[in-house]
């Protein structure tokens, strides 16, 4: 039995090894991915992002406990940054997840970004596919502590949680632009701390500015009420989703059941509106884009004559060629 078949059978050691091979983008990993791919597409991918120290890992821990009580099998992919200088990393998210030890229905894997800048590692998407094929109902993906532009998670996950905490900077500067827009559910963790009202107020006003939410929200309720005879009429307004704001205290579990309900409602919304399939298509599309870029780059590097790259680069150093001219020269001059 090969690695992929063992993964499909539920062998945890094979799963761990396959994840390593996929992370290292080895030939074995690629072969395993190809074999398991038909078995993917079932899991609910939930992204958890937010600034460092907002409690993402603790929240993931609590959510996993909740999903386990619902009988779901839960995989966790926790991403932490690699050092830009040495490539090394300290992956410390498991420290907050000790409640999950000893449960065969949970599988936690830490991974380093290995140079990726979008809050995830390059292999994260592929690794979620391995979990999916291994039969995990839910995969929680915890990003690196994210600031403003680490929004890759929204392209990968079905449901993205953006985690905030009271007292982080003045009026949530950190999440103003990019990251707030990707939230499907906003979480104010550490809600037992002073300043939680201000944080919630700030988030609410941001939402009202960023989304056409107020209007849609009011209509949304009516539209749902008008939905007759169980028919899914899916009118335009039903396609809108207002990111709810949920207060939690991850260390004692306050608000977790409510948060899980929001997540379930969002999944339901995605399916009803057709966005589930749309996100799936977009995700596979961007995955193919990335792979194509890699493959083209590899092919180019294999085909360009030895030393040609360096000699052209030297001309750029001397300012006798611009980078653009150099690239054109390399592409046109490559050997077939």
């Amino acid at each position: 039995m090969n690695l992929a078949q063992s993964v499909l059978k539920g062998d945890r050691l094979a799963l761990a090894r396959t994840l390593t091979q996929v992370e290292n983008d080895s030939a074995e990993g690629r072969a395993a991915l190809a074999e398991i791919f038909p078995h993917t597409g079932k899991a609910h991918l939930i992204g958890v992002t937010g600034a460092p120290g907002t409690g993402k890992s603790s929240l993931v821990n609590q959510l996993a406990l909740h999903f386990r009580r619902e009988g779901k099998r839960v995989a966790i992919l926790a991403v932490d940054p690699s050092s830009p200088f040495t490539g090394g990393a300290v992956l410390g998210d498991r420290v907050r997840m000790r409640d999950l030890a000893g449960d065969a229905g949970v599988f936690i894997r830490s991974m380093a970004t290995r140079g990726s800048l979008g809050g995830l590692a390059q292999a994260t998407a592929a690794m979620t596919q391995v979990f999916d094929a291994a039969g995990f109902d839910v995969t929680l993906i915890e990003t690196v502590g994210a600031g403003q532009s680490e929004v890759d998670i929204a392209r990968l996950a079905h449901t993205t949680l953006v985690v905030e905490a009271p007292g982080l900077g003045d009026d949530i500067q950190a999440i103003k632009a990019g990251i707030l827009e990707i939230a499907d559910v906003l979480v104010i963790n550490k809600a037992d701390r002073p300043g939680v009202e201000n944080t919630e107020k700030a988030l609410k006003s941001m939402l009202e500015l960023a989304h056409p939410t107020r209007h849609v929200f009011m209509h949304h309720g009516q539209v749902m009420a008008e939905d007759e005879g169980g028919q899914k009429s899916a009118p335009l307004d039903a396609r809108m989703w207002l990111p709810p704001i949920q207060r939690t205290v991850a260390v004692d579990g306050t608000g977790i059941a409510e948060l899980a309900a929001h997540i379930a409602a969002h999944a339901e919304h995605l399916r009803a509106s057709g966005d589930w399939a749309a996100r799936e298509r977009a995700r596979l599309g961007s995955e193919m884009d990335a792979l194509l870029q890699d493959a083209l780059m590899a092919r180019f590097r294999a085909e360009v004559p030895n030393g040609k790259f360096e000699s052209t680069l030297a001309k750029v150093y001397e300012r006798s060629l611009s980078p653009w001219e150099a690239v054109t020269l390399l592409l046109n001059g490559r050997q077939k």
Partner: protein, 140 residues
């Protein structure tokens, strides 16, 4: 053509689980070692305090590590270390190299090595030695 590899093509990195089994709460040494291994370019998974042997073996499996580093300052190493080695083997991870740091009397060292502990480091051990020996252990 430059040899510089990007992205996942940089390939395999040494993955190390740094764990503190047992009940002592002194993790300064474990953190210093974790940091040193990180600076040597390894990926270090840190699990925190008061781990049972079962928790450590499970984490080693899920993370598919090459090396487990145990930090024990409680004197319970003769009970904890063999149990962890046993569990790793039972999980099919007999190939994982296990290092031990902390307060280990000299007379215990030979027996621990016999059990399968790859290296033992006491107070004053240099991180350079640890890094070098960890690297060498996963080569073969």
């Amino acid at each position: 053509m430059t040899e510089k590899k990007t992205g996942p093509e940089q390939g395999r990195r040494i993955r190390v689980l740094v764990a503190k089994p047992g009940l002592d709460g002194h993790d300064r040494g474990a953190k210093v070692v974790a940091r040193a291994l990180r600076d040597a370019g390894m990926e270090v998974i840190y699990t925190g305090l008061r781990q049972t042997p079962e928790m450590i073996a499970e984490a080693a499996l899920q993370e598919d590590v090459d090396v487990v580093g145990l930090s024990i300052l409680s004197g319970a190493h003769m009970a904890l270390a063999p149990r962890i080695l046993e569990l790793l083997k039972a999980n099919g991870q007999g190939h994982v190299k296990v290092f031990l740091g902390g307060i280990v009397p000299d007379e215990d060292s030979p027996r621990l090595k016999e059990m399968g502990i790859t290296g033992i480091y006491g107070p004053g051990a240099s991180t350079e030695d640890i890094i070098r020996e960890v690297r060498e252990s996963v080569k073969g």
